[in-house]
């Protein structure tokens, strides 16, 4: 019963967050200056035709009605029509979502694996040179902009060695090998930074757990360090790592926008930046809302994951 209440509470928070976020995104794109009709027709256009276009787009109606229409459309999966191409936005974005999602998911998995290996190594060997070097390496990885890593990878592996293409994308369904071939460099450039961030968290989580009394007790009764850590430490580490993972998925999504630009991948990010350059505000609004939705869904799932990992939170008085 308490689990149901806990889940319901988090679901309610999720819905409210989503609503507030939709209002913010809508207001930023609609209530602010930069009239779409004026932008499309140019500064020299006569006011009458600007007014006509504004009426055609429905921009002359009150904000609250436009917001209602937009949200109503969102709930049925309709993002509206682009101001510029006059075509529906949803079908235009659908194939791009796969590109962005595959980039983010591949990077996340790879980063997680690397972070667990390096982080644990850095924690267990923190008093040795190799552990210190691992920490130092993650510190440097943290300071490298992902897009610069991408550019350097292109210089070495596309321009120099010619192992991988410098950009472009092949759909997974058409040619899985070609897809993988094109995804290696973008995924690795995103992973470098993400695994550096995660490594640091995994390291400090493990160091904290190593100092815990129950690990000391396990060691005292004869468990070796590594098995003791696996048996008694992993769950404690998991709570902290899941938190960071949630936060990092948001930054991965945003990082993907930049990486798509570096490698000319036709994902959500490149479409978003095109729309910003053309001031196609409804497209911007739709994509930003999609990305924010993704972040909020991830946060919601992270909250649920806490409940699964840490039984203490399932009770009413449980705190995190």
């Amino acid at each position: 019963m308490t689990v149901v209440v806990a889940v319901a509470k988090r679901a309610a928070i999720f819905v409210v967050s989503l609503w507030v976020a939709s209002v913010l995104v809508f207001l930023a794109c609609s209530a602010l200056p930069g009239d779409v009709a004026q932008v499309i027709l140019g500064i020299g256009a006569d006011p009458a035709s600007v007014d006509r276009l504004r009426t055609e787009f429905g921009l002359d109606r009150p904000l609250i009605i436009r917001y209602g229409e937009w949200v109503g459309g969102l709930l049925t999966g309709d993002l509206g029509d682009s101001y510029l191409t006059r075509r529906p936005i949803g079908p235009d974005l659908a194939p791009r979502i796969g590109v962005t999602v595959s980039l983010v998911v591949c990077s996340m998995i790879l980063a997680m694996v690397m972070a667990l290996l390096f982080g644990m190594h850095a924690a267990l060997r923190r008093r040795h040179l190799d552990g210190f070097l691992t920490s130092a390496g993650s510190q440097i990885g943290l300071a490298v902009p992902a897009f610069w890593a991408g550019i350097l990878l292109v210089v070495v592996f596309a321009v120099g060695l010619r192992w991988f293409p410098a950009g472009g994308h092949v759909p997974l369904s058409r040619d899985p090998l070609g897809w993988a071939h094109h995804m290696v460099l973008p995924v690795v450039s995103l992973t470098i930074v993400q695994s550096a961030v995660l490594t640091r968290y995994v390291r400090s989580a493990f160091i904290e757990v190593l100092a815990d009394d129950h690990i000391r007790t396990a060691r005292a009764i004869g468990w070796r360090q590594f098995p003791a850590l696996m048996r008694h430490g992993l769950r404690n580490v998991a709570v902290q790592v899941v938190t960071v993972l949630g936060l990092q998925l948001a930054s991965l999504l945003v990082g993907a926008i930049v990486i798509e630009q570096v490698f000319a991948l036709q994902g959500l990010g490149t479409r978003l930046l095109d729309a910003v350059a053309q001031r196609d505000l409804l497209v911007v609004q739709g994509i930003v809302m999609l990305l924010v939705l993704a972040v909020l869904v991830i946060n919601f799932l992270v909250d649920l994951a806490y409940l699964a990992i840490d039984p203490r939170l399932r009770t009413p008085g449980g705190t995190r």
């Binding site: 928070i13 967050s17 794109c29 610069w148 001031r279 909020l296």
Partner: protein
């Protein structure tokens, strides 16, 4: 020992960025903006241009030096915005506790759903791209981190006996905040400021790479990298210097923050 090392390297790198920014205000080896078609794509280390010239014949070193100004400017304004909004929010939440605290936490949760880059893109679409929109967006996106740290630290201070004594004497909450809370949470907030400075530099680099921050001819490290991408096949070395500059600056602020944190947090020292 390691805290000292982090602190030392951090201070050196941060100092280097600040000094470069200041020096570039009065002196650069060459004009960082003027196009010189006779000097296009000079290689580095040969001839008069230490780091070579770019596709417009502009001295790369001069451009990197001037770019430090934007980096420092964006960092200071963005962190300033985050401090001014985030710290009072967090201190308020920590002092009132209960529903007020819960509300602030929920607000920061939603706030977190708008990372700096996304916010900056949204602002660029609405207001147009400029250093100003980038700085404000990065600053606003950094608010929740400050609010949370300030809240957690305030909660700790509020449970101290001297705060209890002050409250018993009838000291008003605002006075407690200024006299007892702020001085005690300042070190933690300072650490966060240093880390946020690094994050702001990274975000600005990405934004100017995407063309959503400072507009030409103002040089920035991100823009230089975007320009360098045109010459990846003929002059890949152009993509090296601006990236190194960003990485060094961010590394500096991160190490400074880490070093300060380790010096301040006795618990971490014990473990090590």
């Amino acid at each position: 020992m390691k805290a000292r090392l982090s602190l030392a390297i951090g201070l050196i790198l941060v100092g280097l960025v600040l000094v470069t920014a200041l020096v570039s205000l009065v002196w650069t080896p060459y004009d960082p903006i003027r196009v010189d078609s006779a000097q296009v794509l000079q290689p580095p280390l040969h001839g008069p241009h230490l780091l070579g010239t770019d596709g417009f014949g502009i001295d790369v070193l001069s451009r990197i030096m001037v770019s430090a100004q934007i980096c420092v400017q964006v960092g200071i304004i963005a962190v300033g915005i985050a401090l001014v909004i985030g710290v009072p929010l967090g201190v308020f939440a920590g002092q009132v506790g209960g529903w007020g605290s819960e509300l602030v936490m929920r607000v920061t949760d939603i706030w977190y759903a708008f990372p700096a880059l996304l916010l900056a893109i949204l602002f660029a679409a609405a207001f147009g791209s400029s250093t100003g929109t980038a700085m404000v967006a990065i600053g606003l996106a950094s608010v929740p981190a400050f609010a949370r740290i300030a809240r957690a630290a305030t909660l700790q201070v509020m449970s101290q006996d001297y705060v209890l004594a002050a409250r018993a004497c009838g000291t008003r909450p605002a006075a407690i905040a200024v006299r007892h809370v702020l001085p005690n949470i300042a070190p933690l907030v300072g650490v966060q400021a240093s880390v946020s400075f690094g994050i702001a530099i990274l975000a600005e680099a990405a934004l100017s790479y995407l063309g959503l921050s400072a507009q030409p001819p103002t040089p920035t490290w991100g823009r230089m990298l975007a320009d360098a991408q045109t010459y990846l096949f003929s002059n890949p070395v152009l993509a090296l210097w601006p990236g190194l500059a960003v990485a060094a600056a961010v590394l500096g602020f991160n190490l400074l923050g880490d070093g300060l944190r380790d010096l301040l947090d006795p618990r971490l020292k014990e473990v090590r």
